[in-house]
């Protein structure tokens, strides 16, 4: 039975660079996939593109391509990535430039676009899923709207002989499903196999999170050599069964436990995982350890794809101002609490207009609040005061941090290391769009 090996070279935009090089060098892979697009990334990239039309792709695109492009070209490894973000066409042009600087020839680069549906949504009658409000009512705050495209345009590019495929918003598992469809000739309505292929995509899309990253808990779940964590490889067979593994000698571990944690990562109902290509069913997946760092996956399936596409909508939500300051030594916690009281009163006195405020003592209660945090009776040696507030303007947001910083000369004794920040918040909501309203397009450039 035919098998292919797919490597996962990045699990988020800022991920480590060199594990992908290791995969290309020693992974015996035919495909190298980089998943680099978080919910908000594309909205921020859209703002960058508005300022400079040649930008708007992932900021680490050039670094990643410099690291792997020549190697992948020499070995015939195809690269698939969503690093195009808000501007896949400009991303493709950048890759061409890098290929030429290396003197590479016969490299076909495909840009998949058509996910940008901002104008469609502004003119349409779609509603925001979370709030039920019509999208059109927030038109002046909208930054971006991108539909999650499926595997089809990537499969088309592979058929056309593309060596590198760079996309905008595409469902993460589709980046991995596309080469499986292409290599095995699966039908686009073979729901069982598309479901299996989606399980593989889901397992690989966060890269190191299935090879021992985001897993270690010393004494309970030990993982060796996380500083040199190896990224995953899926060895997929024509019937959709797969083995998850990694490069021999790399750090980390592939075990049934690491696979189980990743199977349920960011999943709601495991029987109904919506993607543009299939509604995948993870509920009967089984894992079997068949060797060191080798886990067999079986039991995934799926049913007919949904009629609508999910759209990720970016908008200017608010501004957030923040200030922090530290206290140490005897009485640190009491001084920290006094500092919080002072800032609370100052914000009121000065009439800083906030719609939400939060007062934390880092080291005491900042993560889960009072109740869960009162475990030991010991007083920590140091605490860090943190005050954040949501405002309607950047100017007001700045005032929140100011009231923490001025604790230096106006607050409790020995406060140190004050920092402050204020930022615009681009937040994300979602909407559903009839499939036919998003029009995927594939453009090619050659080096």
């Amino acid at each position: 039975m035919k098998t292919i090996r797919i490597g996962s070279g990045a699990g988020y935009s800022g991920d480590r660079i060199e594990p992908a090089v290791e995969l290309a060098e020693k992974g015996d892979i035919q495909y190298l996939v980089f998943e680099c697009l978080a919910e908000r990334t594309i909205a921020i990239a859209q703002q960058t593109k508005l300022k400079d039309p040649t930008k708007g792709y992932d900021p680490l695109l050039a670094d990643r391509m410099h690291a792997v492009l020549r190697l992948c070209h020499d070995k015939g490894i195809k690269i698939i990535t969503n690093m195009g973000a808000a501007n896949p066409v400009a991303g493709a042009a950048k890759i061409k430039e890098i290929a030429q600087s290396f003197g590479l020839r016969n490299l076909k680069i495909a840009a998949v676009s058509g996910d940008d549906v901002l104008e469609v949504l502004k003119a349409g009658d779609q509603r925001i899923e979370e709030t039920g409000a019509p999208v059109s009512t927030m038109a002046n705050k909208l930054v971006s709207a991108n539909a999650y495209l499926g595997a089809a345009p990537i499969v088309e590019a592979l058929k056309d002989g593309a060596d590198v495929i760079i996309t905008g918003r595409v469902a993460d598992p589709a980046l991995f499903l596309a080469p499986q469809i292409h290599e095995f000739g699966w039908a686009m309505d073979d729901w069982d196999r598309l479901g299996k292929g989606t399980v593989v995509g889901h397992l690989l899309e966060c890269a190191g999170q299935i090879t021992g990253g985001y897993f270690a808990d010393p004494g309970v779940k030990d993982v060796a050599d996380l500083a040199r964590l190896g990224f995953p490889i899926a060895e997929v067979s024509e019937d959709g069964s797969a083995v998850i593994t990694k490069v021999e000698g790399s750090g980390g571990a592939v075990t049934t436990a690491t696979c189980k944690e990743q199977l349920l990562y960011e999943i709601h109902d495991p029987t109904t995982y919506f993607t543009p290509d299939v509604v995948a069913d993870f509920s009967r997946v089984r894992f079997e350890q068949i060797g060191p760092d080798r886990v067999r996956v079986a039991g995934g399936t799926g049913r007919a794809k949904p009629e609508t596409l999910k759209v990720s909508v970016g908008y200017i939500d608010s501004y957030i101002g923040e200030g922090q300051i530290s206290y140490a030594g005897p009485g640190a916690v009491a001084r920290g609490r006094l500092a919080l009281e002072i800032v609370r009163e100052r914000l009121k006195l000065m009439g800083v207009k906030t719609t939400e405020l939060r007062f934390d003592l880092i080291g005491i209660d900042s993560i889960h609040g009072d109740r869960l945090s009162t475990v030991s009776g010991c007083e920590p040696y140091e605490v860090r005061v943190r005050v954040t507030g949501r405002t309607d303007s950047l100017k007001e947001a700045v005032r929140v941090g100011n009231e923490v910083e001025t604790l230096y000369t106006n607050g409790p004794a020995s406060g140190g290391g004050a920092t402050k920040s204020a930022k615009e918040v681009v937040a994300m909501l979602s909407a559903l769009l009839p499939r036919n309203l998003a029009k995927p397009a594939v453009d090619y450039v050659e080096a």
């Binding site: 979370e130 199977l263 990562y265 997946v285 939500d317 993560i367 869960l372 507030g389």
Partner: protein, 104 residues
Amino acid sequence: MKLRDIAHSRTGDKGDISNISVIAFDEKDYPLIEAYVTPARVREHFSEVVHGEVIRHTIPSIGALNFVMRNALGGGVTRSLALDAHGKCLASALLDLEIPDRIA
């Protein structure tokens, strides 16, 4: 005993929804976590943090539960004022649950 003695866990985020898996290290302990790690207990454990409903899905094929918690991430990962906006630390906090060592 603590849930951490027999299970491991991972948190994921989507908007204002957090999901936490609870996975038995040994699949023979699955009935125990199924019996005692109920949506009501999880809701109570996180009463200060989670403000919406808690739904539990079961995945017996891998000996795991999956909790889906609404209004759990301070209005959503992309706008939350929280230090841990993703709720990544929730999984470890859940493993602190005290549970009986056999089904009564």
